[in-house]
Amino acid sequence: MSILSLKSVSKSFGALTVTDDASFDVLQGQALGIIGPNGAGKSTLFNLITGNVRADGGSIHFEGRDVTRASAMERCLIGIGRSFQIPQPFEKLTVYENLLVAATHGRNLSEAIVRDDCADILERTELIRRANVPAGRLSLLERKRLELARAMATQPKLLLLDEIAGGLTEGECQALIRTIKDIHARGVTIIWIEHVLHALTSVVERLLVLDFGKVIGLGDPEEIMASREVQEIYLGIEV
């Protein structure tokens, strides 16, 4: 059963078409990777799915429901969680409070009920020691972890991750992969935009390639990666 389905979704900013007639389905429980050159429209695609940006045309269905016109808040409440590529923490709130906002509002629960859950997520994302620090004081890496942690706190059915592995050391990267695999293993559907290919391919089952807002490939990661077209477009390096 497909949990998310896009049909002919398009979006332009002025004269620039950033999403061009994109159609694809994501199955329940799947992990989908998205790759594509800078500016290909990957983040915009996320924004369209989460409702931070409204589509110019086409439709988006989540769990069979048409959510094309739903607000970002509504989509969060029905189970779409996300991280931002450029981390957007609530800077004046502490790390723990950042999660608390997400857990109490994203799941409509009281603070007391979600407390241990939030602490658990902080432990898993290795932010627990920074729990009481204002998020504005975090380093880039910690901010990225916070993005992931906050998205997890809303307990999404579909989790969208936008470049959270960039700049990690190998050890950190492995830890991140474990965390994501763990989330995935709990039945959460994942869509992950990532330039760090080895990390991506070690988690995802399918790979989507985006170029100039168009879906130019979707399928088994190895096959996709092997295609010469993708290698050229994406890496820009002749292999």
């Binding site: 989460t50 409702g51 931070n52 607000s71 970002a72 808040m73 969060c76 409440l77 969680g81 996300r82 931002f84 957007q88 923490p89 609530f90 800077e91 004046k92 709130l93 502490t94 723990y96 409070e97 950042n98 608390l100 906002v101 997400a102 109490t104 509002h105 994203g106 799941r107 409509n108 009281s110 603070e111 407390r115 241990d116 939030c118 602490a119 902080l122 432990e123 627990i128 020691r129 920074r130 729990a131 009481n132 620090v133 906050r150 998205a151 706190a153 809303t154």
Partner: protein, 351 residues
Amino acid sequence: MAYSVTTQTPASRIAAIAGVILISLLIALPFFAGRGTIQDMFFILTMLVLAQFWNLLAGYGGLVSIGQQAFVGTGAYALFGVVILWGVDPVPAIFCAGIAALVIAVPTAFFAFRLNGAYFAIGTWVIAEVVRLLVAQWKMLGGGTGTSLPRDATRDMWFIESIESTLGLRSAAARDVLAYWLALVLALATIGGIYWLLRTRRGLALAAVRDNTEAAKSVGVDAGRMKWIVFLTSAFGTGLAGGLIYMQKARISPDAAFSVTDWTAYVIFIVVIGGIGTIEGPIIGVLVFFALQTLLADFGSWYLMTLGVLAVVVMLVAPRGLWGLLSEQTGLHLFPIRRRLTGGKLASSEE
């Protein structure tokens, strides 16, 4: 392994104890203070209420309104209306004042929320003007001339008799005491209510929306509803304060009740001087404002000029206000809202 959450700090515990003592003192004030003090305190408390609600609106909700006089005026006129035309006792009529302001706030919000930033500010101002002009057409309450509360109504207010006999006061002084106690209740309820709101998950959401609206929406915060809650709450509270202020004045006219200077500009001044976005700020601000007024009011235009210049200077030198300066230096919070996670893995190594 168990985690727990606390918002208290040692400073806040001391503050809480001091607060309880202060509140007891304030309640007992009429038993030992003169009328002058009681009236000054009434002024301070009602301005504080207005300031807290404007602060809630602008400091926490990001809604910079310059039309709060619409709610003061509406509340005040509603009080006069139900007292004069329906013969309601002024004390319960204060509640009607709040309700009336709330009723006006709904269409106001519907309109003003279509506007952003500076447009919102000016939109609220124009709406306040519209309400003023409409009220000025209300001939039964004197139109542009204004009207006074009937003496019978103010003499026989609820509680007056018992205050007169308990404190042994003349009726005018008893009315002051009653108004003071009502203002005290309103101010405490306002501060308590706002503090409570900030400590609930809605308060957390307010802070999140203020920091980053897009991200807040993406974690399920209903930013639109937060705006409504904040706007309606502050309209209601401002209306209550308006009713109470004019119950005490006993005389009203549209120009006075809808004065942008008295009910919005001075209030903004109080909040900004004290420190916007904090509960402590308006408290400090109102004390400074009162001190200035007491010292300088007899200098007429020089007083106002000083006030204007001071507003400019504070905004440039200390944009976070006096409390902002103080808490930056000392980390002091009298009304802490930061939730600190303790226990579990944090037990051994507190950051």
